[in-house]
Amino acid sequence: MAPPKKQDANVASESAPKMSENIPKELKGEHTLEDLNVCYQCGTCSGGCPVARIVPKYNIRRIIKEAREGRIDIANKILWFCSTCYLCYERCPQDVKPIQIVHEITNLVSKKGCAPMPIKEGNRSILATGRIVEVSRLTQQKRKQLGLPELKLDVSKDFRKIAKLTGLEEMVK
Protein backbone atom coordinates (compact mmCIF):
# COMPACT_ATOMS: atom_id res chain seq x y z
CA MET A 1 0.00 0.00 0.00
CA ALA A 2 1.26 3.52 -0.80
CA PRO A 3 2.19 5.68 2.19
CA PRO A 4 -0.39 8.38 2.95
CA LYS A 5 0.20 11.74 1.29
CA LYS A 6 1.57 14.37 3.61
CA GLN A 7 -1.45 16.52 3.09
CA ASP A 8 -3.77 13.74 4.24
CA ALA A 9 -1.82 13.28 7.46
CA ASN A 10 -2.08 16.97 8.31
CA VAL A 11 -5.79 17.05 7.72
CA ALA A 12 -6.19 13.99 9.92
CA SER A 13 -4.38 15.41 12.95
CA GLU A 14 -6.14 18.75 12.83
CA SER A 15 -9.73 17.79 12.30
CA ALA A 16 -10.70 14.27 13.29
CA PRO A 17 -7.67 12.35 14.60
CA LYS A 18 -9.06 9.20 13.05
CA MET A 19 -7.04 8.82 9.89
CA SER A 20 -3.60 7.41 9.40
CA GLU A 21 -0.75 9.60 10.41
CA ASN A 22 2.93 9.22 10.82
CA ILE A 23 3.18 7.74 14.30
CA PRO A 24 6.90 6.88 14.33
CA LYS A 25 7.98 10.52 14.13
CA GLU A 26 6.10 11.12 17.31
CA LEU A 27 7.21 8.02 19.15
CA LYS A 28 9.20 9.16 22.11
CA GLY A 29 10.96 7.30 24.88
CA GLU A 30 13.59 4.74 24.03
CA HIS A 31 12.19 3.79 20.64
CA THR A 32 13.32 5.41 17.45
CA LEU A 33 12.40 4.60 13.91
CA GLU A 34 15.66 2.69 13.69
CA ASP A 35 14.59 0.39 16.55
CA LEU A 36 11.41 -0.39 14.67
CA ASN A 37 13.40 -1.11 11.53
CA VAL A 38 15.33 -3.99 13.13
CA CYS A 39 12.03 -5.88 13.18
CA TYR A 40 12.16 -8.39 10.35
CA GLN A 41 8.51 -9.40 10.67
CA CYS A 42 9.19 -12.99 11.75
CA GLY A 43 5.87 -13.19 13.60
CA THR A 44 7.24 -14.64 16.85
CA CYS A 45 5.26 -11.94 18.67
CA SER A 46 1.91 -12.55 17.00
CA GLY A 47 2.46 -16.32 16.93
CA GLY A 48 2.70 -16.52 20.72
CA CYS A 49 0.21 -13.77 21.49
CA PRO A 50 -2.62 -15.18 23.67
CA VAL A 51 -5.03 -12.47 22.51
CA ALA A 52 -4.46 -13.29 18.81
CA ARG A 53 -5.71 -16.83 19.46
CA ILE A 54 -9.06 -15.41 20.55
CA VAL A 55 -9.20 -12.16 18.57
CA PRO A 56 -7.33 -12.79 15.29
CA LYS A 57 -7.61 -9.16 14.17
CA TYR A 58 -5.29 -8.19 17.04
CA ASN A 59 -2.02 -8.70 15.19
CA ILE A 60 0.98 -7.28 17.02
CA ARG A 61 3.33 -8.01 14.11
CA ARG A 62 1.12 -5.95 11.82
CA ILE A 63 0.93 -3.10 14.34
CA ILE A 64 4.74 -2.88 14.35
CA LYS A 65 4.76 -2.91 10.54
CA GLU A 66 2.10 -0.20 10.32
CA ALA A 67 3.85 1.92 12.96
CA ARG A 68 7.02 1.75 10.90
CA GLU A 69 5.19 2.75 7.76
CA GLY A 70 3.19 5.47 9.44
CA ARG A 71 -0.11 3.75 8.76
CA ILE A 72 -1.49 3.38 12.27
CA ASP A 73 -5.17 4.21 12.51
CA ILE A 74 -5.24 5.80 15.95
CA ALA A 75 -9.02 5.54 16.20
CA ASN A 76 -8.84 1.76 15.93
CA LYS A 77 -9.86 0.32 19.30
CA ILE A 78 -7.93 -2.87 18.52
CA LEU A 79 -4.75 -1.03 19.57
CA TRP A 80 -5.98 -1.40 23.16
CA PHE A 81 -6.38 -5.19 23.04
CA CYS A 82 -2.94 -6.04 24.43
CA SER A 83 -3.38 -8.22 27.54
CA THR A 84 0.11 -7.11 28.71
CA CYS A 85 1.32 -10.70 29.10
CA TYR A 86 4.83 -9.67 27.94
CA LEU A 87 5.38 -12.86 25.91
CA CYS A 88 6.28 -10.78 22.83
CA TYR A 89 8.78 -8.77 24.89
CA GLU A 90 10.28 -11.98 26.23
CA ARG A 91 10.52 -13.82 22.89
CA CYS A 92 11.36 -11.20 20.24
CA PRO A 93 14.65 -12.26 18.58
CA GLN A 94 15.47 -8.63 17.79
CA ASP A 95 14.57 -7.15 21.20
CA VAL A 96 12.02 -4.84 19.61
CA LYS A 97 9.86 -4.92 22.78
CA PRO A 98 6.59 -4.85 20.83
CA ILE A 99 4.46 -4.25 23.94
CA GLN A 100 6.36 -1.02 24.62
CA ILE A 101 5.66 0.17 21.11
CA VAL A 102 1.98 -0.54 21.62
CA HIS A 103 2.08 1.48 24.86
CA GLU A 104 3.85 4.34 23.10
CA ILE A 105 1.11 4.32 20.48
CA THR A 106 -1.74 4.21 23.03
CA ASN A 107 0.00 6.99 25.00
CA LEU A 108 0.00 9.09 21.86
CA VAL A 109 -3.65 8.29 21.17
CA SER A 110 -4.46 9.32 24.77
CA LYS A 111 -2.60 12.63 24.42
CA LYS A 112 -4.97 13.44 21.60
CA GLY A 113 -7.86 12.79 23.97
CA CYS A 114 -8.88 9.64 22.09
CA ALA A 115 -8.45 6.91 24.74
CA PRO A 116 -11.43 4.54 24.98
CA MET A 117 -14.02 5.47 27.58
CA PRO A 118 -13.27 2.58 30.02
CA ILE A 119 -9.63 3.68 30.13
CA LYS A 120 -10.61 7.27 30.83
CA GLU A 121 -13.11 6.13 33.45
CA GLY A 122 -10.56 3.95 35.23
CA ASN A 123 -8.05 6.76 35.38
CA ARG A 124 -10.73 9.17 36.58
CA SER A 125 -11.41 6.78 39.48
CA ILE A 126 -7.73 6.85 40.38
CA LEU A 127 -7.78 10.65 40.41
CA ALA A 128 -11.02 10.69 42.42
CA THR A 129 -10.03 8.29 45.22
CA GLY A 130 -6.41 7.22 44.65
CA ARG A 131 -7.56 3.72 43.73
CA ILE A 132 -9.21 2.25 40.68
CA VAL A 133 -11.70 0.41 42.88
CA GLU A 134 -13.83 2.38 45.29
CA VAL A 135 -13.86 1.29 48.92
CA SER A 136 -17.50 0.68 49.84
CA ARG A 137 -19.00 0.58 53.31
CA LEU A 138 -19.74 -3.12 52.81
CA THR A 139 -16.08 -3.75 52.02
CA GLN A 140 -15.03 -1.97 55.22
CA GLN A 141 -17.58 -4.02 57.20
CA LYS A 142 -16.41 -7.34 55.77
CA ARG A 143 -12.78 -6.40 56.32
CA LYS A 144 -13.54 -5.60 59.94
CA GLN A 145 -15.22 -8.99 60.42
CA LEU A 146 -12.05 -10.64 59.16
CA GLY A 147 -9.92 -8.56 61.54
CA LEU A 148 -8.40 -6.44 58.76
CA PRO A 149 -7.53 -2.76 59.29
CA GLU A 150 -9.85 -0.01 58.10
CA LEU A 151 -8.87 1.48 54.74
CA LYS A 152 -8.40 5.19 54.23
CA LEU A 153 -11.28 6.06 51.87
CA ASP A 154 -9.56 8.76 49.89
CA VAL A 155 -5.83 8.76 49.12
CA SER A 156 -6.20 10.82 45.96
CA LYS A 157 -4.51 14.10 46.93
CA ASP A 158 -1.04 13.25 45.55
CA PHE A 159 -2.53 11.53 42.49
CA ARG A 160 -4.48 14.63 41.50
CA LYS A 161 -1.46 16.89 41.93
CA ILE A 162 0.73 14.55 39.88
CA ALA A 163 -1.92 14.30 37.13
CA LYS A 164 -2.11 18.08 36.90
CA LEU A 165 1.65 18.34 36.48
CA THR A 166 2.04 15.52 33.93
CA GLY A 167 -1.02 16.32 31.84
CA LEU A 168 -2.99 13.16 32.71
CA GLU A 169 -5.74 15.39 34.05
CA GLU A 170 -6.40 16.66 30.52
CA MET A 171 -6.25 13.20 28.93
CA VAL A 172 -9.07 11.76 31.07
CA LYS A 173 -11.52 14.51 30.06
Binding site: S83, C85, N107, I132, V135, S136, K142, D158, F159, I162
Partner: protein, 291 residues
Protein backbone atom coordinates in the same frame (compact mmCIF):
# COMPACT_ATOMS: atom_id res chain seq x y z
CA UNK B 1 12.21 -8.74 59.14
CA UNK B 2 9.88 -5.79 58.55
CA UNK B 3 8.15 -4.98 55.26
CA UNK B 4 5.70 -2.34 54.08
CA UNK B 5 2.55 -4.17 52.97
CA UNK B 6 1.50 -2.84 49.58
CA UNK B 7 -2.18 -3.63 48.99
CA UNK B 8 -2.88 -1.60 45.85
CA UNK B 9 -6.48 -1.35 44.65
CA UNK B 10 -7.79 -4.85 44.07
CA UNK B 11 -6.44 -6.88 46.99
CA UNK B 12 -8.00 -4.84 49.82
CA UNK B 13 -11.38 -4.53 48.07
CA UNK B 14 -11.88 -7.59 45.88
CA UNK B 15 -9.46 -10.15 47.31
CA UNK B 16 -9.08 -9.46 51.01
CA UNK B 17 -9.21 -13.21 51.58
CA UNK B 18 -5.67 -13.12 50.14
CA UNK B 19 -4.71 -10.21 52.39
CA UNK B 20 -6.07 -11.97 55.49
CA UNK B 21 -4.16 -15.14 54.66
CA UNK B 22 -0.91 -13.23 54.05
CA UNK B 23 -1.19 -11.41 57.36
CA UNK B 24 -1.77 -14.69 59.24
CA UNK B 25 0.91 -16.65 57.40
CA UNK B 26 3.68 -14.03 57.68
CA UNK B 27 3.07 -13.99 61.45
CA UNK B 28 4.38 -17.57 61.51
CA UNK B 29 7.66 -16.61 59.90
CA UNK B 30 8.61 -13.56 61.95
CA UNK B 31 7.82 -11.14 59.17
CA UNK B 32 6.34 -7.92 60.51
CA UNK B 33 4.02 -6.10 58.10
CA UNK B 34 3.71 -2.33 58.30
CA UNK B 35 0.62 -0.63 56.88
CA UNK B 36 1.22 2.66 55.09
CA UNK B 37 -2.30 4.04 54.86
CA UNK B 38 -1.45 6.53 52.10
CA UNK B 39 -0.38 3.85 49.63
CA UNK B 40 -2.71 4.01 46.60
CA UNK B 41 -2.81 2.78 43.03
CA UNK B 42 0.49 1.21 41.92
CA UNK B 43 0.32 2.94 38.52
CA UNK B 44 -0.22 -0.09 36.31
CA UNK B 45 -3.61 0.89 34.94
CA UNK B 46 -2.29 4.27 33.78
CA UNK B 47 0.56 2.87 31.68
CA UNK B 48 -1.53 2.48 28.53
CA UNK B 49 -2.67 6.07 28.78
CA UNK B 50 0.51 7.78 29.95
CA UNK B 51 3.61 5.78 30.86
CA UNK B 52 5.33 8.73 32.51
CA UNK B 53 2.44 9.43 34.89
CA UNK B 54 2.25 5.72 35.63
CA UNK B 55 5.94 5.80 36.53
CA UNK B 56 5.45 8.78 38.84
CA UNK B 57 2.53 7.03 40.58
CA UNK B 58 4.75 3.98 41.19
CA UNK B 59 7.67 6.12 42.36
CA UNK B 60 5.36 7.99 44.73
CA UNK B 61 4.43 4.75 46.49
CA UNK B 62 8.03 3.58 46.70
CA UNK B 63 9.06 6.99 48.08
CA UNK B 64 6.50 6.59 50.89
CA UNK B 65 8.11 3.27 51.90
CA UNK B 66 11.59 4.79 51.64
CA UNK B 67 10.62 7.47 54.14
CA UNK B 68 10.15 4.63 56.63
CA UNK B 69 13.25 2.74 55.50
CA UNK B 70 11.18 -0.27 54.48
CA UNK B 71 11.27 -2.73 51.61
CA UNK B 72 7.88 -3.41 49.98
CA UNK B 73 5.80 -6.58 49.92
CA UNK B 74 3.41 -6.62 46.97
CA UNK B 75 0.60 -9.19 46.85
CA UNK B 76 -0.75 -8.46 43.38
CA UNK B 77 1.27 -9.37 40.28
CA UNK B 78 0.29 -6.06 38.69
CA UNK B 79 1.61 -4.05 41.63
CA UNK B 80 4.73 -6.22 41.73
CA UNK B 81 5.44 -5.47 38.07
CA UNK B 82 4.76 -1.75 38.10
CA UNK B 83 6.77 -1.09 41.26
CA UNK B 84 9.64 -3.31 40.06
CA UNK B 85 9.56 -1.69 36.64
CA UNK B 86 9.73 1.77 38.21
CA UNK B 87 12.76 0.71 40.22
CA UNK B 88 14.35 -0.65 37.06
CA UNK B 89 13.61 2.41 34.91
CA UNK B 90 14.64 4.86 37.60
CA UNK B 91 18.19 3.55 37.49
CA UNK B 92 18.39 6.07 34.66
CA UNK B 93 19.47 9.23 36.50
CA UNK B 94 18.04 11.62 33.94
CA UNK B 95 14.61 10.00 34.17
CA UNK B 96 14.93 9.93 37.97
CA UNK B 97 15.50 13.68 38.03
CA UNK B 98 12.45 14.21 35.84
CA UNK B 99 10.30 12.06 38.15
CA UNK B 100 11.72 13.73 41.26
CA UNK B 101 10.86 17.14 39.82
CA UNK B 102 7.21 16.09 39.97
CA UNK B 103 7.49 14.26 43.31
CA UNK B 104 9.16 17.35 44.81
CA UNK B 105 5.87 19.20 44.42
CA UNK B 106 4.25 16.74 46.84
CA UNK B 107 7.29 16.78 49.16
CA UNK B 108 8.50 13.34 48.20
CA UNK B 109 11.67 12.10 46.62
CA UNK B 110 12.57 8.76 45.05
CA UNK B 111 15.96 7.45 46.11
CA UNK B 112 15.95 3.84 44.92
CA UNK B 113 16.52 2.30 48.36
CA UNK B 114 13.44 0.14 48.88
CA UNK B 115 13.40 -3.26 47.27
CA UNK B 116 10.19 -4.85 45.96
CA UNK B 117 9.11 -8.40 46.79
CA UNK B 118 6.12 -10.44 45.69
CA UNK B 119 4.60 -12.66 48.38
CA UNK B 120 5.65 -15.82 46.49
CA UNK B 121 9.17 -14.43 46.17
CA UNK B 122 9.28 -13.66 49.89
CA UNK B 123 8.29 -17.25 50.69
CA UNK B 124 10.51 -18.99 48.12
CA UNK B 125 13.61 -16.82 47.92
CA UNK B 126 13.77 -15.03 51.28
CA UNK B 127 12.22 -17.34 53.87
CA UNK B 128 13.06 -20.44 51.86
CA UNK B 129 11.57 -23.86 51.34
CA UNK B 130 13.37 -25.58 54.24
CA UNK B 131 12.00 -23.13 56.80
CA UNK B 132 8.51 -23.51 55.37
CA UNK B 133 8.80 -27.30 55.47
CA UNK B 134 9.62 -27.22 59.19
CA UNK B 135 6.38 -25.41 59.95
CA UNK B 136 3.97 -27.64 58.00
CA UNK B 137 1.49 -29.19 60.45
CA UNK B 138 -1.28 -30.43 58.18
CA UNK B 139 -0.29 -32.44 55.09
CA UNK B 140 -2.61 -31.85 52.16
CA UNK B 141 -1.88 -35.30 50.70
CA UNK B 142 -5.45 -36.01 49.63
CA UNK B 143 -5.88 -33.17 47.13
CA UNK B 144 -4.73 -32.55 43.58
CA UNK B 145 -4.06 -28.94 42.68
CA UNK B 146 -2.98 -27.00 39.64
CA UNK B 147 -1.99 -23.35 39.30
CA UNK B 148 -1.84 -20.13 37.35
CA UNK B 149 1.35 -18.12 37.89
CA UNK B 150 -0.03 -15.09 36.12
CA UNK B 151 2.05 -12.96 33.77
CA UNK B 152 3.41 -10.14 35.88
CA UNK B 153 5.29 -12.30 38.34
CA UNK B 154 7.28 -13.87 35.46
CA UNK B 155 7.59 -11.34 32.69
CA UNK B 156 9.42 -9.17 31.76
CA UNK B 157 12.03 -11.45 33.33
CA UNK B 158 14.92 -9.00 32.94
CA UNK B 159 13.03 -6.62 35.21
CA UNK B 160 11.41 -9.05 37.65
CA UNK B 161 14.17 -11.69 37.85
CA UNK B 162 12.03 -14.09 39.84
CA UNK B 163 11.51 -17.29 37.85
CA UNK B 164 11.98 -18.80 34.41
CA UNK B 165 9.54 -16.85 32.18
CA UNK B 166 8.66 -19.87 30.05
CA UNK B 167 9.18 -22.81 32.42
CA UNK B 168 8.42 -21.44 35.88
CA UNK B 169 9.06 -23.79 38.80
CA UNK B 170 8.98 -21.84 42.04
CA UNK B 171 5.23 -21.82 42.69
CA UNK B 172 5.16 -25.55 42.00
CA UNK B 173 7.92 -26.07 44.55
CA UNK B 174 6.07 -24.02 47.15
CA UNK B 175 2.81 -25.89 46.52
CA UNK B 176 4.53 -29.30 46.74
CA UNK B 177 5.74 -28.55 50.26
CA UNK B 178 2.15 -28.83 51.48
CA UNK B 179 2.04 -32.47 50.41
CA UNK B 180 -0.66 -31.85 47.82
CA UNK B 181 -0.36 -33.50 44.42
CA UNK B 182 0.66 -30.72 42.02
CA UNK B 183 -0.62 -31.02 38.46
CA UNK B 184 1.28 -28.96 35.88
CA UNK B 185 -1.21 -27.09 33.67
CA UNK B 186 -0.93 -27.05 29.90
CA UNK B 187 0.42 -23.61 29.12
CA UNK B 188 2.22 -22.37 32.23
CA UNK B 189 2.58 -19.05 30.42
CA UNK B 190 -1.14 -18.48 29.83
CA UNK B 191 -2.73 -15.12 30.52
CA UNK B 192 -5.98 -14.75 32.51
CA UNK B 193 -7.23 -12.03 30.14
CA UNK B 194 -8.08 -9.55 32.85
CA UNK B 195 -6.73 -6.55 30.92
CA UNK B 196 -9.21 -7.20 28.12
CA UNK B 197 -12.24 -6.79 30.37
CA UNK B 198 -12.45 -3.06 29.63
CA UNK B 199 -12.60 -3.65 25.88
CA UNK B 200 -14.14 -7.03 25.10
CA UNK B 201 -15.61 -9.15 27.89
CA UNK B 202 -16.11 -12.20 25.64
CA UNK B 203 -12.46 -12.19 24.66
CA UNK B 204 -11.40 -11.62 28.27
CA UNK B 205 -13.39 -14.58 29.54
CA UNK B 206 -12.42 -16.75 26.59
CA UNK B 207 -8.81 -16.36 27.73
CA UNK B 208 -9.83 -17.17 31.30
CA UNK B 209 -11.73 -20.27 30.19
CA UNK B 210 -8.77 -21.41 28.12
CA UNK B 211 -6.69 -21.15 31.28
CA UNK B 212 -9.24 -23.06 33.37
CA UNK B 213 -9.47 -25.84 30.77
CA UNK B 214 -5.70 -26.24 30.89
CA UNK B 215 -5.74 -27.29 34.54
CA UNK B 216 -7.40 -30.66 34.03
CA UNK B 217 -9.35 -32.47 36.74
CA UNK B 218 -8.12 -30.94 39.99
CA UNK B 219 -9.56 -30.03 43.38
CA UNK B 220 -8.37 -26.42 43.28
CA UNK B 221 -6.49 -23.88 41.17
CA UNK B 222 -3.80 -21.95 43.04
CA UNK B 223 -3.12 -18.30 42.17
CA UNK B 224 -1.08 -15.39 43.50
CA UNK B 225 -2.74 -12.40 41.89
CA UNK B 226 -6.19 -10.86 42.46
CA UNK B 227 -6.71 -10.47 38.69
CA UNK B 228 -6.07 -14.15 37.95
CA UNK B 229 -8.26 -14.97 40.93
CA UNK B 230 -11.22 -12.99 39.67
CA UNK B 231 -10.86 -14.14 36.08
CA UNK B 232 -10.63 -17.84 36.91
CA UNK B 233 -13.26 -17.74 39.69
CA UNK B 234 -15.83 -15.49 38.00
CA UNK B 235 -14.79 -17.00 34.66
CA UNK B 236 -16.42 -20.28 35.71
CA UNK B 237 -19.73 -18.51 36.36
CA UNK B 238 -19.52 -16.83 32.93
CA UNK B 239 -18.49 -20.12 31.32
CA UNK B 240 -21.71 -21.69 32.55
CA UNK B 241 -23.89 -18.69 31.75
CA UNK B 242 -22.58 -17.74 28.33
CA UNK B 243 -20.47 -20.56 26.94
CA UNK B 244 -22.37 -23.63 28.19
CA UNK B 245 -19.27 -24.99 29.88
CA UNK B 246 -19.50 -26.30 33.37
CA UNK B 247 -16.61 -26.22 35.85
CA UNK B 248 -16.65 -26.32 39.63
CA UNK B 249 -13.02 -25.82 40.63
CA UNK B 250 -12.40 -23.46 43.55
CA UNK B 251 -9.66 -20.90 43.01
CA UNK B 252 -7.48 -20.31 46.06
CA UNK B 253 -4.47 -18.15 46.81
CA UNK B 254 -1.19 -19.86 47.63
CA UNK B 255 -1.21 -17.91 50.90
CA UNK B 256 -4.52 -19.58 51.83
CA UNK B 257 -3.20 -23.02 50.88
CA UNK B 258 -0.06 -22.52 52.97
CA UNK B 259 -2.24 -21.25 55.83
CA UNK B 260 -4.17 -24.55 55.81
CA UNK B 261 -0.91 -26.51 55.85
CA UNK B 262 0.30 -24.42 58.80
CA UNK B 263 -2.84 -25.52 60.65
CA UNK B 264 -4.56 -22.13 60.58
CA UNK B 265 -8.32 -21.72 60.82
CA UNK B 266 -10.01 -21.73 57.41
CA UNK B 267 -12.33 -18.85 58.34
CA UNK B 268 -9.37 -16.67 59.32
CA UNK B 269 -7.89 -17.43 55.90
CA UNK B 270 -11.00 -16.05 54.20
CA UNK B 271 -12.12 -19.33 52.59
CA UNK B 272 -15.78 -18.38 53.14
CA UNK B 273 -15.40 -14.87 51.70
CA UNK B 274 -15.35 -13.57 48.13
CA UNK B 275 -14.97 -17.00 46.44
CA UNK B 276 -17.75 -17.41 43.88
CA UNK B 277 -16.96 -21.09 43.39
CA UNK B 278 -17.41 -22.64 46.82
CA UNK B 279 -14.31 -23.94 48.58
CA UNK B 280 -16.37 -26.30 50.82
CA UNK B 281 -15.69 -29.56 48.94
CA UNK B 282 -11.99 -28.78 48.71
CA UNK B 283 -11.77 -28.07 52.44
CA UNK B 284 -13.70 -31.24 53.24
CA UNK B 285 -11.32 -33.29 51.13
CA UNK B 286 -8.38 -31.75 52.99
CA UNK B 287 -10.00 -32.66 56.30
CA UNK B 288 -10.85 -36.21 55.21
CA UNK B 289 -7.27 -36.89 54.23
CA UNK B 290 -6.19 -35.82 57.70
CA UNK B 291 -8.56 -38.21 59.43
Amino acid sequence: MKLALFLGCNVPTQAFNYEAAVRKVTDHFDVGLVDITDFGCCGEFTEGMDSFTSLVFSARNIALAEKKNLDILALCNGCFLSLSKARHELEDQQLRRKVNNVLGKINLSYKGKSRIFHFHQLMHDVIGTSKIKEKIKVRLDGVAISYQNGCHILRPSDVLQFDDPEEPKKLEELMSLTGAKVVRPTGTELCCGSFLLSHDTNAAYSLAIQSIEGKGKVDAIVVGCPFCFRQLDMGQIIARRKFGKSFEIPVVFYAQLLGLALGLNEKDLGFDQIHKISTANFLQKVKRSNG
